[in-house]
């Protein structure tokens, strides 16, 4: 970016524009561990400031990269071509919580967990619950269409968006969607923007759907001998019309990783754990919890237990949450994938993954939202061994091919960003990519918004 562009930005943001190397370094990363230095960082407070920034960018030809909390796993907020990072963290007001219509209107920088807490105080529920909910922002969740543990019953971020306000790549401020339960006037631009990773527009306000807070919940932990057995239990329960609000699976390595730090005993033969939560009115929770326990036993669980109270539930969830940090024991560098397969194919996917690990001599830890068919495949490498890194990269491609072959998708909730961009065409095909590119041109003709994401200039991996 040239001096003229910087001083024009300074006229908009004043002290809220940062250009020192130190400030720029602090916005060069996200949770992928990759780094790209922006030319400047700005903290907008209003949609108008965002709009004026994008207009300037069109005049001067610099990239604009929106960023929430920088907690993404696919590189969506990384300024890969420099430019200005627009950090929405100071646009963090909850503008309204409408208890008559069950609607919340928020600015993009509101922390997801904060919104959940605020609506909970009014007996309401905003279901999306990515693991980073204590720090990730609603804006980032919308841009990446974040999911979470309870997606199996309640869906993902896109299922709770009624309308948006966003600045397009042209600098125009567009309002999409409705404030009502339904609405079918014209194309669904709201859903167009959700999951677009800041490449079509920068979200400046969101109208979100809320639902009543479930009155009670029960949590069940079941251990199985193998992941395949656990996966068959998941598919079996889905077929039996049991709908838990969470259904988390941990494979043998994940179970071994938490074994020593867990506050509860893990049976010796356990090669897989399923953590299942049901919620709703107390009477139906009791019935469904019984059904879940019964089904787990029928599918060969070696041990099934139910938390007696909320403290017990918390202990069980602690087990699940401690996996992600503790798997670093296996190896320091984590290659984190986020595939989804139809639930009936889960067992097949797990067999494939264990075969892949031994065939390529890699350590792979699998856990995730099995109820959605969503597995976080974590290939753990030392980071120092070049050959191991190449084997891991090959394994990633194999995992993706198998996923698509089974009728699945290569990213359930992390987005494409830069991490999955080489594989976009593998899943959506050349026509799919072409239609997406045409849409991109329509929303952002000069390629100002978050360039280098989703698409590669040349597709690296063909179908």
């Amino acid at each position: 970016m040239n001096e003229k562009a910087i001083s024009a930005l300074r006229a908009i943001f004043g002290e809220r524009l940062k250009t020192s190397l130190e400030d720029r370094i602090c916005y060069s990363f996200d949770a992928t561990g990759k780094e790209f230095l922006p030319d400047a960082v700005a903290y907008p407070l209003t949609a108008d400031e965002v709009r004026r920034t994008v207009l300037l960018a069109n005049d001067h030809g610099f990239p604009v990269v929106p960023r929430g909390a920088g907690s993404g796993f696919s590189g969506g907020s990384l300024p890969v071509h420099g430019g200005v990072v627009l950090s929405t963290e100071r646009m963090d007001r909850i503008l309204s919580i409408d208890t008559e219509n069950l609607v919340a209107v928020v600015e993009p920088g509101v922390v997801t967990g904060t919104l959940k807490e605020e609506v909970k105080k009014r007996g309401l529920f905003y279901p999306p619950d990515p693991a980073s909910l204590k720090f990730c922002t609603v804006g980032g969740n919308l841009a990446e269409c974040a999911g979470g543990m309870c997606a199996v019953k309640y869906g993902v971020t896109r299922d709770y968006v009624l309308g948006l306000e966003a600045v397009l790549g042209t600098g125009e401020l567009v309002r999409t969607g409705v404030y009502t339960v339904k609405g079918v006037v014209g194309y669904d631009l709201t859903r167009m923007l959700v999951g677009s990773e800041g490449t079509l527009g920068i979200i400046t306000k969101a109208t979100l759907r809320l639902i009543p807070l479930p009155e009670s919940a029960a949590t069940i932990l079941a251990f199985f001998g193998t992941s395949e057995q656990g996966a068959r239990a998941v598919a079996g329960m889905v077929e039996e019309r049991i709908t838990p609000c969470a259904m988390e699976l941990m494979d043998r390595t994940a179970v071994d990783c938490v074994r020593e730090i867990a506050s509860l005993p893990i049976p010796a033969g356990a090669g897989c754990a399923l953590l299942i939560e049901v919620d709703g009115p107390a009477a139906s929770v009791a019935r469904e919890a019984g059904q879940v326990e019964e089904a787990c036993r029928r599918f060969g669980a070696i041990e099934v237990s139910r938390a007696a109270d909320s403290a017990g539930r918390e202990r069980l969830w602690e087990l699940r949450r401690s996996i992600s940090p503790s798997i670093r024991k296996v190896n320091p560098v984590k290659i984190n994938e986020d595939i989804v397969v139809p639930r009936s194919r889960l067992a097949e996917m797990f067999s494939f993954l264990s075969g892949l690990a031994s065939r390529r001599d890699l350590k792979i830890v699998n856990f995730g939202h099995a109820g959605d068919g969503n597995i976080h495949v974590n290939i753990m490498i030392s980071g120092a061994d070049e050959d191991e890194r190449r084997r891991a990269e090959g394994a990633v491609e194999e995992v993706f091919r198998k996923t698509v072959e089974l009728g699945g998708t290569i990213s359930g909730e992390h987005g494409v960003g830069i991490a999955k961009a080489p594989f976009l065409e593998m899943e959506v095909g050349p026509l799919g990519v072409s239609v997406m590119r045409r849409l991109k041109d329509c929303f952002d003709p000069n390629g100002i918004l978050n360039p280098g994401k989703i698409f590669l200039s040349e597709p690296a991996v063909r179908p």
Binding site: K18, S20, L21, E22, D23, I25, C26, Y27, S28, F29, D30, A31, G33, E35, Y43, A69, G70, S71, S87, E89, R90, D92, G113, S132, K134, F135, C136, S324, P325, R328, P332, K334
Partner: protein
């Protein structure tokens, strides 16, 4: 930047963002540069030579309270405090340390005699220059606006420090050593006295560590590891010569220095390493001593007329957080004041003092601190008790500024009161 083990420490950070949820400063700054992962990214950039601006690095790394909340929340157990202190030390080597700090850390702090003299001078000066304001915790002085300290108040310095006020031969022998700390000796000698008196109730012989050097924390967090190390070495030598069975600290920050930071100052291969580890293992907090020696069980029943819930406890970050000694102080409080003690929300949120942080950004420091006082008041408290010299300095100033009737005390003062008053 020289490695000094830093690469291994910073490499553990996954940049996940958990530190944003607990950082005391983040709600004030709303910028990534204020939180641990931002600062770690800066240290990494300095290590790899991508950022060689030592002044800017010093500025960024100094903007931190070292409350350690990020370190405790971190899923990867990244040692953030060590990274920041080492980063500050490196930046200080290149960018320098202000002259007044060099004189204070290198010249005054290691010597108890010079600290005495400095207190005398300062006491005379404040009487002449500053405006008096009475508070629930004693007389404070307010800086005139012309000094540019945004209404800062300071406690009236005493004529004599606690150690100087001891009779010759008093508290000179005993297998339990009391490490009073500079602030409880020279600024709030009543806390030193209350600690000593209440510890005597254990029936053990208590010796006050008279020729203590400063614990070294102010120097260490300012990046002056040389001066901090000199303090640590002096203390280790002098303490071992006294052959104590245990060493008791009324101040959580001094204790943190001895339990943890000292071992970074005196690393493996240092000639005093073994001695330092031995000393470190003898050190413990005031509340644990009071509990273990049965002082609490010997206290008379709290008076029935005590108002329920009028005394709260503020968790010092270093003591309750880093060292995990939060429940002991509460048990002591319940023994000393009974139902008058009640929890307030956010008792474990940092007071915003941060030592040098309070000097470099008083407006932010006081915003954070005043909030602690107003939350305590809203919870019905009339007394905030705590167990760290930094928290007391900060909270007494904050109370003097916004709510002079609020008393801020050390738990030892409540224990001594319970022993003597009833």
């Amino acid at each position: 930047m020289s490695d000094d083990g830093l690469r291994a420490l910073t490499g553990a950070c996954a940049k996940c963002g958990t530190c944003r949820t607990v950082c005391t400063l983040y709600p004030e700054r709303k910028a990534e540069i204020s939180v641990a992962r931002g600062k770690i990214a800066l240290v990494e950039a300095a290590l790899s030579g991508r950022d060689e601006n030592a002044e800017a690095m010093q500025e960024a790394l100094t903007d931190c309270l070292l409350c350690g909340r990020c370190e405790r929340a971190c899923p990867n157990h990244v040692l953030v405090e060590e990274i920041i202190m080492k980063g500050r030390a490196d930046a200080a080597r290149k960018a320098g340390i202000p002259a007044w700090k060099r004189v204070l850390f290198g010249g005054v702090m290691p010597s108890s005699g010079k600290r005495d003299a400095a207190r005398g001078l300062a006491a005379a000066a404040q009487n002449l220059l500053l405006k008096k304001i009475p508070t629930g915790s004693g007389l404070h002085y307010r800086f005139p606006d012309a000094f540019g300290f945004s209404g800062r108040t300071v406690p009236k310095l005493p004529e004599k420090g606690f150690v100087a006020s001891l009779a010759p031969g008093e508290a000179s022998a005993g297998d339990v050593m009391l490490f009073v700390g500079c602030v409880f000796d020279h600024v709030f000698p009543a806390v030193g006295r209350a600690s000593y008196d209440s510890m005597k109730a254990s029936g053990r012989a208590i010796a006050v560590f008279r020729d203590a050097a400063c614990c070294g924390l102010p120097a260490m967090v300012s990046g002056d590891w040389e001066s901090a190390r000199r303090c640590a070495e002096e203390n280790v030598r002098r303490l071992l010569a006294a052959e104590p069975e245990r060493i008791v600290f009324p101040c959580g920050s001094c204790l943190l220095m001895f339990k943890r930071n000292m071992l970074a100052l005196i690393p493996e291969k240092h000639p005093l390493r073994e001695d330092a580890v031995r000393v470190s293992n003898l050190c413990g907090d005031y509340a644990s001593f009071i509990l273990e020696t049965g002082v609490v069980s010997r206290l008379p029943d709290p008076p029935a007329e005590g108002k329920a819930g009028e005394i709260c406890y503020h968790d010092p970050c270093h003591l309750s957080g880093t060292l995990g000694k939060g429940s002991e102080a509460r048990e002591v409080l319940r023994g000393a004041v009974g139902d008058a003690f009640a929890e307030i929300p956010g008792a474990d949120v940092c007071c915003g003092y941060g030592g040098t942080f309070n000097v470099r950004d008083y407006p932010t420091s006081s915003r954070i601190g005043e909030n602690r006082i107003s939350i305590a008041a809203r919870g019905g408290a009339r007394v905030v008790s705590t167990a760290c010299s930094g928290c007391i300095l900060q909270l007494r100033d904050m109370a003097a500024r916004t709510r002079p009737s609020m008393r801020v005390v050390h738990i030892a003062e409540l224990v001594a009161g319970a022993l003597g008053g009833r």
